[in-house]
Symmetry: C2
Subunit: 328 residues, 2 copies
DNA sequence: TTGTAAGCGTTATCAT
DNA sequence: ATGATAACGCTTACAA
């Protein structure tokens, strides 16, 4: 484990000069620079980053909070973020909050103890009032989560529009009885629901309580939703499912029970995951352009870290599109 | 940004005592301990981890190398690893190598510069001789990659058995013309191929060059494989596809071209991903117990970091199982 | 252009 | 049981 001192000794120069070469400062003569580089090479020297960070050098690490990386939406999002971060020499620390408020707060220690240069919240469990105090330790931005109280940059998709689009599409297909699935009460869900309610309201339809489902996340949850729908005395004829996974579960279970999709039950997914195109019938879904939002968010974070941008309460809204397939 | 000094001042004690409380050393009287804790609480003090790491305290970070987190096998694996790591207070640094030898080597800087306590290689691009020099900087272990030269712990699945199982199953179904798909020449692929070759050899069958496909990873690649098979003058009647994604692509394209699966073409997947059960026909596949291997690997790594286990050249082999569905 | 030396915030070794 | 104080490896005034 060699230090700067060893390199200096070997090169016959001072530690300061070695440090200057490492940080490629100006005012180092070419020959000394070469001498230092040779010495570093020979010893296989690598600077100790803890020591560097003590001197307020950046960690070049960014924490990304997601509820669960195994969720394909998040794995694709993080993949895009990592790709972009890497081009700027940043590493990602993966934080799965598992929809746990306390676990989420724990991760902010990464900021307060200076282990990361910033935090990207691709999912958020706590209210802004809990999170705000951490902003004085470093930049925090939101990705695809919208909290109007949060006084930081929010890169996001227009979820209201997403909910509206999907529902409107079903209305145009002639459906009047449209069920709605959501996960927990995240900003994403809340806004999508707004869009859903807006669309049915425009059509003069009242929301029906038994058709509003909560805490629906997985394929298995989707299966259960179908079973519930099947058991209803007055079942809906269409479902806005909130994710392609849930849609897949509903469709698969429906087929198993000899319901025809979309004739007996039309289903709209969300995310345009690979599976949406593979199922029979293929799923009508809403594309969120995961890669774009990942890139954009990372760009914003790195600009804030590099102080070429300020982290004010602004929304960067990316487009969204409906992809019509066979399930509607 | 408060330091230990501020806490000491506030509590009217020395820095040493504060440090002792932080690290809960013995020989601190109860009342002083409380005084220090109150002071820390009031100031909202959090120890600076760079400073701690300078004193050779562990980073509590582990780097996980995967080729691409968006690959469902890896996202589930990393999910399991993160879950286990979190229970021991460790964070994961996500490293996507993107099948790039140079990029992979870059990540070892995390070890040499003491930014992580260890590295888990869930994918490996470089030969062991390139990786070995880094072992003196910290523990490196392999997960689901088998390199007999690597003198470190390898937690893995019996890929030879996996290839053998899948092929044997097709043979038992009466197939004599079995194609084989693989990704790049990773140890996983090489071993699976061994199993495949062993199975057909036992049945007295010679491998056919046109039925061995390489660099097949995605759904789209699977589609292409079907097109190639279709164009063959002497096409196989079954395919060992190497992944459920590839299998899904093959099956979907086959259906589009009015081939019946499994009658015209039987397909075996790999991984037992959710999609395997949702497709029509459902995919016969091989379950790798992703969660188990994630947990096991993380346990081993943490034990090595905690010095309760030595990192010698041993294999920890986890079971694998065939799940028969409708595609064969 | 190069070197000297003072910190950065901890922990650990001595004393006391 | 508690307190000085010397490291840890690096960066950066300040001097030369």
């Amino acid at each position: 484990m060699y230090t700067i001192k060893d390199v200096a000794l070997k090169a016959g120069l001072s530690q300061a000069t070695v440090s200057r070469v490492i940080n490629n400062h100006p005012y180092v003569s070419e020959d000394k620079k070469i001498a230092v580089k040779n010495a570093m090479e020979e010893l296989g020297f690598v600077p100790n980053s803890s020591a560097q960070q003590m001197r307020n050098v950046k960690t070049k690490k960014i924490a990304v909070l997601v509820s669960r990386i195994a969720n394909p939406f998040f794995s694709h999002l993080v993949d895009a973020m990592e790709k972009r971060a890497a081009t700027y020499g940043f590493q990602l620390i993966l934080c799965n909050t598992r929809i746990d408020k306390a676990k989420e707060l724990e991760f902010f220690k990464l900021l307060t103890s200076k282990q990361v240069d910033g935090i990207i919240m691709a999912s958020v469990e706590n209210h802004w009032s809990e999170i705000e105090p951490f902003t004085k330790y470093g930049p925090i931005i939101y990705c695809n989560e919208y909290d109007p109280d949060a006084t930081v940059t929010r890169v996001r998709l227009d979820q209201v529009e997403g909910g509206y689009m999907g529902t409107k599409h079903l209305l145009e297909k002639g459906h009047l009885k449209i069920a709605y699935c959501q996960g927990n009460d995240s900003s994403v869900s809340v806004n999508r629901r707004k869009g859903y309610l807006k669309a049915i309201a425009e059509a003069g339809i009242e929301p029906v309580k038994e058709w509003m489902f909560r805490d629906v996340f997985t394929i298995e949850d989707g299966r259960n939703i179908f079973r519930k729908i099947q058991a209803l005395s007055n079942p809906p004829t269409a479902v806005f499912s909130g994710s392609d996974e849930v849609a897949a579960g509903i469709i698969h279970e429906a087929k198993k029970n000899s319901w025809h999709v979309p004739k007996d039950l039309a289903v709209v997914g969300f995310d345009d995951q690979p599976i949406a195109e593979l199922l029979d019938p293929q799923i009508t879904t809403i594309n969120q352009f995961t890669t774009d939002i990942g890139y954009q968010t990372m760009d914003v974070m790195i600009e804030i870290i590099n102080k070429t941008r300020i982290n004010d309460a602004q929304d960067i809204i990316l487009p969204i599109e409906l992809i019509e397939r066979q399930s509607t």
